[in-house]
């Protein structure tokens, strides 16, 4: 019995830590979704690019992956702004039969990034063997005769804390600064924002940049605890859009809650069903969200705020 409880609690803890990182991926996607009304299917591939940046900084210059957050996020921001300005914006103006052309375009971008990474860096699995990789804190260290044993891995906790800091920073940016307010205005109503003098074009570029920067940050936080290969992006794109749907299309608060839910759920499937089934679990939660909660977590939050 104690062993069962221990396993459950341990799974819950690691799921929660994973959820914090997932929330960061989902946040970037939700932000882009909210402002530009497109799903960025190259999201995971942008994360892969950031992970390679962190990997090479570590391998060549021995820079800790957590410090390379400061290199990778600005770099990804520039990449995002560039992609938006030179590829996605022109397509938004082109007349076509299909409404999803921009989404197909992001698939093309993702395809190019993955393939280039394979060509230049081969498809070998890589990782950054940091010195504190296997360090952990145990419950028995603090409470000698605890009935169960739980552990908290050091790099996981550190990644989680940095993710929380980035989320809080984003929240400050969106609610307290002028640019942030303009972004939120653009997300709410593009025409009204235009009339109020918001430069919507610039806001779109900035939003795409921030979305890319957030997922780039998440990449740097993932690399000490995960491994890296060129086609890893697809999996995290899936994670990102499941969170976006779960949280409610384009809602940032929803994305955080959705990320934590998905993280815990995925840990549970990994523990009780086996690692290989994680994508299936992800899909089930996606289907469940579509059937039972089409508005996502955001619709519940909105109801509570309105007092219904």
């Amino acid at each position: 019995m104690a062993a069962q409880v221990e396993l459950f609690l341990q799974t819950l803890i690691s799921g929660f830590l994973l959820g914090g990182l997932y929330a960061l991926i989902g946040l970037g996607m939700a932000l882009i979704m909210g402002v530009m009304r497109i799903i960025n299917l190259a999201h995971g591939d942008l994360m892969m690019v950031a992970m390679y940046v962190a990997y090479w900084l570590f391998t060549l210059f021995h820079i800790d992956p957590y410090l390379s957050v400061f290199v990778a996020t600005p770099l990804l921001f520039l990449l995002g702004v560039g992609l938006q300005n030179f590829l996605i914006n022109p397509v938004m103006k082109v007349e076509s039969i299909l409404p999803h052309n921009q989404v197909i375009l992001t698939v093309g971008i993702g395809m190019i990034l993955t393939n280039l990474a394979t060509v230049f860096f081969t498809s070998n699995y890589r990782s950054t063997p940091v010195s504190y990789a296997s360090k952990a804190w145990y419950l028995t260290d603090f409470w000698r005769d605890a009935p169960i044993e739980l552990s908290l891995s050091a790099p996981w906790s550190l990644s989680f804390i940095v993710a929380v800091i980035m989320t809080v920073a984003l929240w400050f940016f969106l609610t307290k600064t002028d640019t942030g307010k303009s972004i939120r205005a653009t997300a709410q109503d593009i025409d009204a924002a235009l009339l109020m003098g918001v430069n919507v074009g610039v806001m779109r570029a900035v939003t795409f940049g921030i979305g890319a920067a957030l997922v780039g940050g998440a990449g740097c936080l993932f690399i000490p605890i995960y491994y890296l290969y060129p086609s890893l992006g697809k999996q995290f794109t899936n994670v990102g859009f499941v969170i976006t749907v779960l949280g409610g299309m384009g809602s940032t608060e929803g994305a955080i809650i959705g990320g934590v839910i998905l993280g815990i759920f995925e840990s549970m499937t990994a523990t009780y069903l086996g690692m290989g089934w994680a994508p299936v679990g992800r899909f089930l939660i996606f289907v469940a969200a579509l059937v039972f909660l089409p508005g996502g977590v955001a619709s519940i939050l909105r109801k509570q705020r309105l007092g219904k």
């Binding site: 076509s96 093309g108 395809m111 280039l116």
Partner: protein
Amino acid sequence: MKKFIPPIILAGLCLLPLVGLSSYVMHILVLVIMWSIIGMAWNLLGGYCGQVSFGHAAFFGMGAYSSGLLYHHLGISAWWGILVSVPVLTVFSLMLGFICLRLRGAYFALATLALGEVLRVTAENLVKFTQGDLGIMIKQRTWVEKTWYFYVILLLAAGSFLVVKKVMESKLGYYFVAIREDQDAANSLGINTTLYKTIALCLSGVLTGIAGAFYMNYMGYIDPTTVFPLYDISIVTVMVVMVGGVATSWGPVIGALIMVFLAEVIRSMPGIGAAHMTLFGILLIFIIIFLPNGIVGDFRKITGLFKPRGALK
């Protein structure tokens, strides 16, 4: 005159194997025709009805596996799979449509994107049922020569072409286009949008599944990564239609021709072969920006480029 173009092309293709083409050329032709079936199927759903799918590999793989599993478990000819894949894919598409097509916008595209991946993982993990990564192998293929395979796939393609054409000429086709152009307006005119979107999905899924079942018979071997990949099947399907021309009857055929030849040419070039996905991606971006309606859809634009300025008016 226009009415006679499809029969003339069909007759021409029927006579083609008599010329005595090499086995490699026949293989390419079979692939082109197979891809044009998948393209036509995607076009029905994505081009005419406006529901973009990023997961046609799911339908393709389901068709291939229903054929392969029949052979593997019951020991009957894998050709029965072409018949069996029809009900299997219908039920599967109905379920998918019921869940995802009630909602509009990107939900459907997202669901299909995840679906291929989910089916791949399921096929990999249900080792007892699907053999997992070992795959399913047909011990003896029906014919050694490619000629008969060519006729079978040609027959299937002609059937698909006819189905798509008849559907688009009927009331159903007008409903599809109405849904693509404005779902609210279609709804207000009394069109049950969910029902008709689901019908489009079923037709598209069944046609793709038949192509998948043929693939199993033709190649004689499948495993989860060859029939459920995202880029190599789902995205190439989208590209076949985008390159050829969205919502045109000949677009998928032209697109399949270009994509299969391009893939063969790029893969055979030393040094560049590994980067073929990059070139495909660049082609996709180029098409979306400059020829959003594909080669057939924007044919006037292309011919306009080569005319002298004065002739453009």
